[in-house]
């Protein structure tokens, strides 16, 4: 079974040591417009609508940039 997009993000968030609140604040700063509740349910896999996947991926990637990584979280176009 292939890993779905939201699972990729949630695993990357945990690996990056980001709390959900931190992720949402960074996502919001990058222009993300969904409420914390909607983002939370998306990450938990219970949202029906498609989300700003790339904005969330960017928010997590920027955390990695801070510690010397270079965008390890795949963007939507890189997901198989």
């Amino acid at each position: 079974m292939s890993t779905s997009a939201h699972e990729v993000l949630e695993a990357a968030r945990v690996r990056a040591g980001m709390s959900f609140d931190e992720l949402w604040m960074d996502y919001f700063a990058l222009g993300g417009a969904s409420s914390p509740d909607i983002v939370r349910s998306y990450l938990a896999g219970s949202a029906t609508q498609s989300m700003d996947y790339d904005v969330l991926a960017q928010a997590i990637n920027e955390r990695y940039v801070e510690v010397g990584g270079n965008h390890p979280v795949p963007y939507r176009e890189d997901l198989i």
């Binding site: 700063a29 904005v55 965008h71």
Partner: protein, 236 residues
Amino acid sequence: MAERTIGAGGDRELGDVPLDDLLQRVVLLARHTVGAAHSVSITLADTGGYRTSNFTSDDALAIDEAQYESDDGPCLRALRSARQVQLTVGAGGDHLSVFDEVATEAGMTTVLSTPLMRDPGEAIGALNIYSQREGAFAESDVRTASLIGEQATILVRTALALVSANRLNEQLQLAVASREIIGEAKGIIMERQACTRDEAFDVLRRASQRENRKLREVAEDLVLRVEAREQDGRAD
């Protein structure tokens, strides 16, 4: 007796009064209203562990710190159980703990630790009252300690809520400023490339990845470049 304090609440303030000063009044109040009290201190639990924020004399500080170092003693038991703990020094008989030794050396006979509660069942600190009198604390002393503990709890909780509200405020201000600059950059790209908002975001995020910089910085550069060019244009 030296009445002093060490840096406790940092920059936390209620009104104009630093939390540290308010808590110092609490330990002094306990020292003077609990009949058997000899020295009083407040333990606060932090992310980094435990520390004594306030004390009425050095012996209380020394006994507190012996408890943190040995990870045992009445103030930690009160904190962890979220219950008031009264203990007779040396009650363990032959087996003396580090706490027993240090407390005995300071001439203490009993201690009463009252938890400061963050939520029901979860303590955030403890009010420690050390006594040199023989026998247990009087019922009225225990009640007074509980009442003072409740007041201290309210101070600490309010100060913590203020700190987190201020922090959230600052974060939101930064986030809104970042959204603004990114929104401006997206607008510029949309106009230039006749693309959608999402496609404009893709342009920024690819540049961010290519240059390994934050997207906000890439956006800021673009906006500044365009603004500089506009000014040059007007100057011509």
